[in-house]
């Protein structure tokens, strides 16, 4: 009896309709929170925090580069895990989330690469340095591109999603290998300033706004993911009666 109830809950969780309706309520709050976090973090980091002793003010790019990198990498895992859940439990919503995660992750990886390159110029004198960390980010971008491109190989939506999920999982195994290659290679790139096991090597005055920005970027990622998924739901479920009701009740929405 209990088991049945649990499964109902689980499968209800996977219903696009449930997702759409639930997010309808929470979306405005998430948007406000994201905006607040990002603005607060940026003002703090760009205007209030002191500059780095060696790098000067260009160090402030860290408040964009690091959060983007962190979320871009996490986003790949989110994409792969959504794919895995979709493959194992055949949950359509999970596949929709995976599909939405791809362009967002790719865009954030792009931001990380560009901000990293811009940061490199005043710091190391070159826009691009082929060290392991930057190279890993570039490889991550291509991993994202691969998942996005694979979608177009299959005319059948279901097959495209399953294939994308398989590819994401294969890439997911590769990601820690790439990450680990940072340890193996002597690199020019700064060692990770945030080590979750030890004290950060940055001054707390500079570290705190970074944490705010990272949380803000995660919040932004969730926002974007929900927005993309909602659009995907409407696109795919256009035949469903709940969708038709929804649309006819709100003529010419924003």
């Amino acid at each position: 009896m209990n088991f049945n109830l649990q499964w109902t809950w689980f499968h209800r969780l996977g219903s696009p309709r449930w997702f759409y309706q639930k997010t309808q309520r929470w979306l405005p709050w998430l948007a406000v929170a994201t905006f607040a976090l990002l603005v607060a973090g940026l003002v703090w980091g760009l205007a209030i925090a002191p500059p780095d002793a060696k790098q000067g003010n260009s160090f402030r790019i860290i408040y964009l580069h690091v959060p983007a990198s962190v979320v871009a990498l996490a986003g790949y895992y989110i994409m792969a895990i959504s794919g895995a859940v979709g493959l194992i439990w055949r949950i359509k919503l999970s596949f929709m989330l995976m599909r939405s995660a791809a362009p967002i992750g790719a865009a954030l990886t792009f931001v990380a690469l560009v901000t990293g390159a811009i940061w490199g110029k005043p710091t190391w004198g070159a826009y691009w340095v082929w060290d392991a960390r930057i190279t890993s980010m570039l490889i991550l971008l291509f991993l994202y591109f691969g998942v996005i491109a694979l979608r177009h190989t299959y005319s059948n939506n279901e097959a495209a999603e399953k294939a994308g999920a398989v590819l994401s999982l294969v890439g997911m195994v590769n990601v820690p290998i790439i990450y680990k290659s940072v340890d193996w290679w002597q690199t020019l790139h700064q060692p990770a300033t945030i080590k979750f096991t030890g004290a950060p090597s940055m001054h707390p005055d500079m570290f705190a706004p970074l944490v705010v920005m990272i949380i803000g970027f995660y919040s932004f990622y969730s926002l974007a993911l929900i927005l993309y998924t909602r659009a995907e739901i409407l696109r795919r479920e256009y035949r469903a009666s709940w969708v038709k009701q929804l649309v006819s009740n709100q003529p010419v929405e924003k």
């Binding site: 291509f142 691969g146 491109a149 590769n174 290659s181």
Partner: protein, 226 residues
Amino acid sequence: MANNLSGGFKAFLYRDLLLAIRDRGDLSKPLMFFLLVAVMVPLAIAPEANKLSAIAPGLIWILALLATLLSIERLFSEDYADGSLEQLLISPNMLMMPILGKITAHWLVIGLPLTLLSPVIAIWFSLPISAMVPMMLSLALGTAVLSLVGAVGAALTLPRQGGVLLALLVMPLYMPVLIFGSATIQSAVDGLNWLAPLAMLAAFLAIATVLCPLAISAGLRIAKNG
């Protein structure tokens, strides 16, 4: 049951080897490519020994990578086209074994000859003799990984074949192999410990042997069933 387990492997190994040998053209094309591009490099860049030997480790590996990419697409395409893939999918054998058999055949036909040809390239690029053995070991292990990972891409792109997508999918996955493969050769040239990066290649081979067939069989089923 035990019969089926290894039977599938050997059967498809012999089958693909036989098919490859019968069609000599396919067998030699990637190797010709390997040699031809190697000839182009001194013509395009510089014939000086010191310049060539500086880029040799990475270049040899890139050539091996490209040669593998050229050939891997056809791993499943003929079987997909003539229906034998469908037969494979509904057979009672574990899918892993025939897949590993086919990939082993591919390595024997592409990766191994590449490895055996590599000393020629090494001499052309003035690579020191001390780097020969590490180079061949890295190529032997690495091309096996390239075949395994390439097969994943081949399986996933079956419905619409056309080299570029396969390359795009598979290149990011190839990069760690490329890194450690060329590092093995470079370490040997520099007199450092080349067993370390070689061990990484061996680790990659172990992981790939276990995980790639899973992904490949999933990809094959998706391609067939839609």
